[in-house]
Structure formats: C-alpha cells, structure tokens
Subunit: 603 residues, 2 copies
C-alpha cells in the first residue's frame, strides 16, 4: 500500500519500469477495444491503458467510474506517436496496466469538478471536500502554505521567535464584539476569543522577547460584510527598540521577497510608495488606494468658486468642496452610460454627478459636452481640465459635497471606472504604506474622540504638545500596508510610558474602571521597565487572495464560513443539548416578540 510514485512524475526516463500508482479516477474512456483511465492524485495525472489481453484487470476496469479510488500496477511505456499530450508532465508516457484494485467506490458527484461549470457557492461550501479536489483550489492551499512557510523562514532567520498566545483570553478593547466562551468551572464567568493578540504581544515586549511573531488566529463578531470571516489569520509581529522606519523596511523587504519568490507578479513600485493618510484621501478618495492606475482626484473648488452653477456655489458656501478626476478616453460614453454612472454615484451616497466629455478643449465650452455647460466660461472649463489632467477624448467626473463624502464617492467611482475600462493590470502588485494618520478621529454621534488605530498608538513626539490644544491635529506613528486597493494590515509604534498612556486615555474619556478592566494587565506591566516597541499585523487571508488572483478570501481558506457566518459543511453554529448549557450555567434567551417589547416600553 505504501505510495512510492505520484501520478505527476513519470516520464520517458521511467520507460520499462514497473510501478504502482494510487489515486482517483479522473476519467475513463473506451476506445479501439482498450480502456483508458486517467488516474489523478495531488501531483498530477497519468494515463493508464487496460488491454483485453489482461482479462482480470480489463474486466474490473470496465466497472470503474469517475472519482473511484484505485491502485494500478503496470509498466511505463512511450505513448504511440501522435498521441502525446504536451500539456501534461506525464504526456509522453502511459502505464500499461497489469493489475487493478478498487480501494473505494464513489457515488456520482453532486457537481462537476470543472472550473468553468461550478455550481452556486452554497453547494461548493456544502461539499467543500469535493470542491477542494479541483487543482485550482489545491494550488491555493499550497500557495497559502508557501506564504506562511516563507514568512516563518524569513523571520526565524532574523532572530524572531514565534510564540503561541492563548485563544481563551479576556475581552480586548479593539472595537469589534468579542466571541465569548462560558466557563463551566466558574458560573457566570466567560473567556473571550482574541480579536488580536495585541496586549499579549506588548506584554511579550515587556518580557524582553524583543522580536516576536505569530501566524495568529483572530476572531471578530462583526456584522458580516462582504468578504469578512468570523475568524481570520494574521501575521502578528512586534519588535522592541525600533523606529517606524525599521518596521516599514522589514515589512517591505519581507513582502518584496515573498512576492518575487512565490509568484510571477511584478511589484510596481520599489521601494514601496509612502503616501500620507491625508494625501491618500485627497488623491484616491480612500485610505486603501489602488495605485496600479492613475485617475487621481483633484480639488477644483477655487476654479468653480465663481461660476453661476448653483450646486457648486451652495456646496462651497456651506464649507464643502468640489473635486473630480479625469477618465482617459471615455468621452465617447453614451448618454445612457453617463446616466448609469450618475445613478452609481448616487448609490455611493452622492447628491449628483457632474460630467464633462471633452471633444476639443481648444474650443473651450463649445468643445465639451455636459448638461451644465451654460454655467461655465471657456477659461473655467480649460482650467478644470488642466487641474484634472484631462485631454481631448477624456471624461471628467465631478462631485460637490462635504469633503469626506465627495472624496469617498470619487474614490469609488475611480475604482469602478478602472475596472470597467480594463485599466487594472492583473499581473502587477502595487504595495504602498499609508502613513501619518491622525491619532484621534472625532466621533460625531457620541461627541468624543476615538482612537484612529487603537489606544496604544504613540503620537509623533513633536506633536505631543498638541494633545492639549488641538488633539485632532496630532499625527500617529501608525501605518497601513495596502496593496491593489486592499488594506493588508496596520501597525504602529506603541506608547510605552504610563504617563503618556494615561493622558491618551484621558483624552479618550475612558473611566478609571474601564481602563482597569480593559487594560489593567498591560498598564501594570508598564510599571516594570517596558521598552519602546512597535509592530505590524498583515492579514494572511487577504494577502494570499491577492497573490492567488482570487476575488474573495473564501477561495484561499480550506473550510470557510459563508457570508452569513455559517459553516455549511459542518452545519455550524447549531443548537446544543440542554444538558451542555446547564453544565455551562447558561440558558438561551430567545429574542422577545415585538409585542412584549412594546409592553415593556409602556411600563
């Protein structure tokens, strides 16, 4: 039974050898009085020929069906001239079978393992063990293994220690909801699953580990959005006695060598572009820009300040902005296409979309088409075009709104147009660092400052005086690594001094009880010689997704949950025995019907 040969390795060097192969029946066909079976395993496919001379094997081969598990013994021989298959590594040979054994039968599969005729994802996830038989899925799993292996080799060679931190911990303060695990031994007590090992890795720095990493499982009970999973994997990395620059350099070198070693993709910018948070929003309308293409956004507020176009004037008067970008060679869009674009902009939250299709800029307003030409002078149109870098044949898209709103809509339109017009080079990876975000964001709803990154992030030392006078202006020593429009991960230099940390908590308006309950162990640790430290935590799922050219992370996770958080194969989550709940000292409290909620309001 011991497998000594794979189905992907036999070639003309092996002609004349007797070998035994083990695998699955990829296909069977009867042709010219003989039976051909393609046997498949993880490594490839080999063609096996059963001739009637060998009666026992031949007869058994007649009964065999797709996906049966077999072993075949035979002699390697050269394929007859003209029947070679150059697309297979084993295409020059075939196995002349002398013995066949059926190790297991298979019912007909619920769907074909054909990449081009896949069923709905629901079916694929339900039968994930069959879906994973497709070579493409297997390649994704292999790539994922190579990526984590590469990271481990790379960091181990640089004296990092991989340390496993616990999964059963206490609630962490990172914004999302915790998954809770009731304790059987302590009634009314709960463990929480880590949203990330944030406090633990900082505690490892206090312990003097200096260079820590972990390929860590993290858990967030978030409302499910496109392409999130309840559990995900990140490279968690932390160092002591480093600057932001040290961490960015290390990250850049790791991602560069990993990408170049494991894929054929070209890295667009070496060194990686560094884009400030503010610049990213202003140019790309997002903090995770795709810089594989241009179409940068510009501010045309000053140009249009004096037009007669009421929408622009009113917006500017209310403290808003007017911004836009140029879409190359899109002046030929039909009116219908332009209406669709306007509707798309509205679906992104815009009040409207102004467009100018440029035929001949030399003719001023006469040379452009737009429903609003009458409000603009020749000079204004030319100035707008210059500011947006638009030429004859281009389309200009303009939004007037509050600044963040306008930028957000334009960012989405920019991404949409790039994909629509095929401007996105799939063979290219454009990594960038987004740096210098503000330390705090103003939370309009709650009327308070929230941390942009997390409450342990250090401000730039030169901005510390602003903590009292103008907290919104304080820049954080924090950074994101982004790639092709995705955020891969973020990191920061952490606060390591108690007094600064206390001041930040004060600005964030945390109560002493809150601080003790959420950050107690870390603050305690900071009393005993905490070194300066910082780190970064790129997500593995998204990284592999980008490297594998897949549209979502489920394609690079062996057993993902669907977008509703359900494992369709295992059927989880599921009800459990009352006895189990009793042991855990909890009971289910089903949502109250509407009416009883109303009642309670009456009281």
């Amino acid at each position: 039974m011991s497998k000594t040969w794979t189905c992907g390795e036999l070639n003309t060097k092996h002609i004349g050898q007797e070998v035994t192969l083990y695998g699955w029946v990829n296909s069977r066909r009867d042709h010219g009085g003989v039976i051909f079976i393609d046997i498949r395993d993880r490594w490839g496919i080999t063609q096996v020929v059963f001739s009637p001379d060998n009666q026992d094997a031949f007869r058994l081969a007649e009964t065999v069906r797709s996906e049966w598990v077999i072993s075949v013994t035979g002699t390697v021989r050269r394929r007859p001239p003209g029947t070679e298959n150059p697309r297979m590594s084993t295409g020059e040979i075939e196995l002349a079978a002398s013995r066949l054994e059926v190790l297991n039968k298979s019912a007909p599969l619920p769907f074909d393992l054909d990449d081009d005729n896949l069923p709905d994802e629901t079916v694929r996830l339900q039968y994930r063990y069959l879906d994973l038989r497709r070579p493409k899925m297997l390649r994704n799993l292999q790539l994922r293994h190579k990526v984590t292996k590469f990271i481990r080799d790379y960091l181990t060679a640089r004296d990092f220690i991989e340390i496993e931190t616990p999964i059963l911990i206490k609630s962490t303060p990172e914004g999302a909801r915790d998954y809770l695990v009731p304790s059987r031994l302590y009634p009314g007590h709960f463990y929480a699953l880590p949203q990330s090992p944030q406090q633990l890795k900082q505690l490892l720095m206090v312990a003097g580990v200096e260079r820590y990493f972990q390929i860590a499982r993290c858990f967030r009970d978030e409302d499910l959005r496109a392409d999130r999973q309840p559990e995900f994997t990140q490279l968690d990395l932390e160092m002591s006695f480093v600057t932001q620059e040290d961490i960015l350099q290390l990250t850049e070198d790791l991602f560069t060598s990993l990408t170049e070693e494991l894929t054929d993709k070209k890295i667009l910018y070496k060194p990686f572009k560094r884009i400030s948070y503010e610049e990213s929003w202003n140019k790309y309308g997002t903090d995770k820009p795709d810089i594989r293409y241009g179409m940068e956004i510009s501010d045309i507020s000053d140009i249009v300040a004096n037009t007669d176009f009421r929408v622009f004037k009113d917006t500017l008067a209310a403290g808003g902005t007017v911004r836009g970008f140029a879409v190359p060679e899109a002046a030929s869009f039909t009116r219908r296409q332009l209406d669709d674009l306007t509707n798309l902009a509205r679906s992104f939250g815009a009040k409207g979309l102004v467009w100018f299709a440029i035929d001949d800029l030399a003719r001023g307003v006469e040379g452009v088409r737009s429903p609003v030409t009458k409000f603009f002078s020749d000079d204004q149109v030319v100035a707008i075009a210059h500011k947006l870098g638009a030429n004859n044949g281009d389309l200009m898209l303009i939004v007037a709104d509050k600044t963040l709103q306008a930028l957000d809509v334009l960012g989405r339109l920019r991404s949409h147009m790039a994909h629509e017009l095929g401007l996105v080079d799939q063979d290219v990876i454009a990594y960038a660092f987004i740096v210098d975000p503000p330390l705090f964001e103003w939370n309009e709803d709650e009327g308070r400052w929230d941390p942009t990154h997390h409450p342990f992030t250090a401000p730039y030392p030169e901005d510390e005086p602003l903590l009292d006078s103008d907290p919104g202006k304080v820049r954080a020593m924090a950074y994101d690594i982004v790639c092709n429009g995705y955020e891969l991960g973020s990191g920061s230099i952490r606060i390591h001094k108690r007094d600064l940390q206390a001041k930040i908590f004060e600005i964030l308006n945390y109560t002493p009880e809150d601080i003790e309950q959420r950050f107690g162990p870390l603050l305690k640790a900071f009393e005993y010689g905490a070194p300066p430290h910082g780190g970064i935590a790129p997500g593995i799922d998204r990284l592999v997704m980008v490297l594998a050219d897949e549209p979502n992370i489920r394609e690079v996770i062996a057993f993902p949950k669907n977008q509703a958080g359900v494992d369709l194969m295992l059927n989880a989550p599921s009800p459990v025995d009352e006895e189990q709940l009793r042991e855990l000292h909890i009971e289910v409290r089903l949502p109250e019907p509407e009416s009883s909620t109303a009642d309670s309001k009456v009281q």
Copy 2:
C-alpha cells in the same frame, strides 16, 4: 534608536569600536569610584563602565535601578587583566560609556528574577511578563519555536501541506466536553471549539490532499487534572495511501532527527521499541511506560497458587492475579520505609503490599525478610525471585488483586521506586510505540462497548471476523508514541469505507440520530471516493516539556492558565456585561442553592 548590536555579541574583535546597546539594567554596582552596569537583552549581558570623567553619564548612572530600560553608547575595550569573566560570551570586554539614556524606569519587581528563589507559581503567573524575563524561560520559548520550526521544515520538505482548519466548528465526538461559543446572529445556536481537527483532517484526505499537517490549537473542557490545560497544541498529521508502518517510520524519523538536532539528549532505543498494548500493561503496569529503567513486572500467580497465604489464594480463586517486580539493592530499606511503601500502594488503590527483602537467596526462606515468610517454602521463594529477576540485596514488591488493578498499582510503584532510587537517567530519551490496542473497551458502568481510540479507528483486517463474535478481541490499527513515561500522542489507520464504519457504530450502539448529528459530514464525504488514510497527533506542549527537562507543561507555554483553568495575569474567565449576554441571546443560570434542589425532589 535602531538596535544594531545585541548585548551578547561583543568580544575582543570589537575593541576600539563605538557601539550603542539597548536593554535592561541587570545589575548596578559602584566600585572604586566607577559605576558598573550590566546591561541585559535577549541575547546576553555586557558590562558597562561609567567613569566620573564623563560627568553627565556618570551622574545619570548613579540614579539608575534594576530593570530600568536604557541605551548606552561607548567604546569597546579589553577588561583589565584578572577581571575577565570566562562564563560570559562578552566576558573579555567591557563598554566604556560615553552616553547614557534612560528609556523607561521600573518600579522594584515583585520578585527576584533568580531561578533559585522563585515565589509561588501563582505570583509567577500573575506577573508572567516578568517571569519570562528569566533566561531559562526565554530558552524554553526559543526551544518551543525551534521544535515547531523543525517540524514544519521537515514535513514541508516531504511534500506535506500545512492547512489551517477552523476554530469555530461544530461539536466533535471525542469524549471530552466541548467549549461552546454562542452565536449572535443565530439565537440559540452555538459554535464549538475543536477538541482536535479529527473530522476536518479526514475530510482533507477525501479532498485529495494526501499529506496534511498542522500545528493545531485544540480545546478540551475537562475536569482539570495535574498538568492539563484548557487549550493545548498538537502536531496534527494525516496521510493517504499509507500503512501503519509508514506512519510509524515517518514519526520515528521525525522525532529522532528533531531530538538529535535540537537537544543534547541521547535516544535510548534506535529504532524505537515497539511494545504491544498488552505487553505494556503486563510489563510496566501502564500504557505509557518509562523504559529508561528496568524493574519489569512479572506474573507469579502459578508459583504462589499453592501457598498457604490466604490473601494470594483468595485473590486467585476470585479470578485475580498475583504480580510483582524486583527493586535492585533495596533490601536495606528500613521497616519504616517499607511501611511507607505499603501506605503508598494503598493510596494507589491496592488492598495491601507484600514485600520480601532478600539477604541470601541460597538460604531459601531463611535468607529473606518479610512479614509473611511463614506461608512460603524455600522453593517458592526462590521461584518467585527467579521469576522477578531478583538477587541478593534486592527487594521484591508483590500485589494481589484483579489484573488491571494489580498492574496499575505496580506500575505506579515501579515509577515511584525508580525516581526514589535515582534510577532515571535525565540525559536520556526513551521513545517507544505502543501498538495493537483493543478496538473496544468494555464500559462496565454503562454496559456497552466504547472505542479505545476513537470511532474512526480501523480494525486489523484479519480481526474483522471477530467484530461479530468477540468484539473485545479485535485489535485496532492504532498506536501511541510514548516517551519517558508520558504519552506524547496517538494515531491510527482510519476506516474509509462506509459499511465498515456503519458496523462499528452499530457495535458502539450509536443511534442513527447520534450518528447523523455527530459524524454526518464525514459519513457523507465517505460516499465520494474516500482514500485509505491514517495519521498521528503528538502533543507539542508535552514534547517540548520533555526536551526542556521541565516538570510540567506550564513551563513551556508563554501564557498558561493555572491548574484551575484561570489566567491569573489577564484575570480570565471573568464576568461580562449584561449587554453582551443579551446580544448573544443567553443568560447566566447560577447553580441552585442546595435547599431548592431538595425542594424540587419533594415535588
């Protein structure tokens, strides 16, 4: 700030260079008008000298205390003759400091970082980030990293794919209790944390992965016994188209090369001993024998069958057994020591302990001391001694009881005596495979067969006929790897055919609902071409513990829970907000007071 030198690397080659070191103050002493500070980091310790010539640095150095975080710039110079320290890698040089910076202060530590004066483990776990500063703990973490890295390298080179399986799954059927995670999106539904990825790895074999491994986190909500943790780490490994022999060979080669590469320990038996489950119980009174020493147990029932000693006669008449072993050179034990041994045997569950101290075997009964000599003849005493391999000066320990009970007591006594008498060679590792256990164990309490290993374990094909006639005689293709008295892990060849699996379930008396609920996905998958497969799952915590010579697994886990399942540093588990519970659709049901239980009985 970027750290370019460690505190462990400077030597005479660097004399004359100016360097900056970053680390913790290991100690400070003032001597002969200068200040010596030993600065420590992960890599070592360097002696720094502050002379009053350099006033600023000297004055600051005067204020510095243990465990403060500092950076020091200075020039490497040779230590004055006679002051070298040959036990330090940096012992020939010192740093003449020109600049000192205090990066962070430290309060006095709650305990000394001195291996010989450690506080209670409770304090160590509470301040784990300080406990981990001890070089010994750091070495353990490093060894653990090296072990997992070695395993990953080894298996990757052999074409295994590491695949991450989910942590949020459905209840598995492995005997222990599951940790449950309430779902927020599905009221009354729960995920479970995996006790092991058993079904998932078998599904990966159905998927055609063929060679899978994972360093996997597992969770068991067991009643806490010595040296268990709620979460633990195992090497989970599964292969298709293999025999038991293939898996044992691979495991042996992996453990051999790992041990020899990473430690100075000598492997006692190469190839590893293979001991049948039955032999292990008979010779060592356990299924996880420590074979670093002898003192094997023998059956003396037939020799003592005809003595006048009532205890032996009655036990044998009731179907019991009389067994014992010889303790070398222990005839000189005092009566008090022997009484203590008897009490120990009783605490192990024995009804009593019979001992014979042999002075001169040639003199028969006259030559031995024992409270029961009068019941034995010369021949019988000599025969017993021969059977147990006892010589003059040895002590024979004998127990009469039901077989399993007698063996269990003798096994514990054997281990106790070996440690008591210093017969255990700490520099030696004795791996062994325990093979051929029974497929089923009779559960006396429930009056049914239970799986010895787990319900997917395959019987020996030649024993399959016994499934109907005598299930207790069927041997499993299962194996444990044991080492120095610990079980490191177990594995088996799995059933891959539905009909055999159905038969096993029938013998185990599982209901169809039970089967569907617990094993549904796997059984479904078995319809679609499941290959023959098997695997093994050694525990990483215990392996590293053995390799590091530590007495318990908490010493090789960064942030362990205590033996009551509590994380003393994070304070988990803990109560949570009512709001969190409400979102999860559960409420706490505290244990009822005794009285109300009584009431409910009255009803």
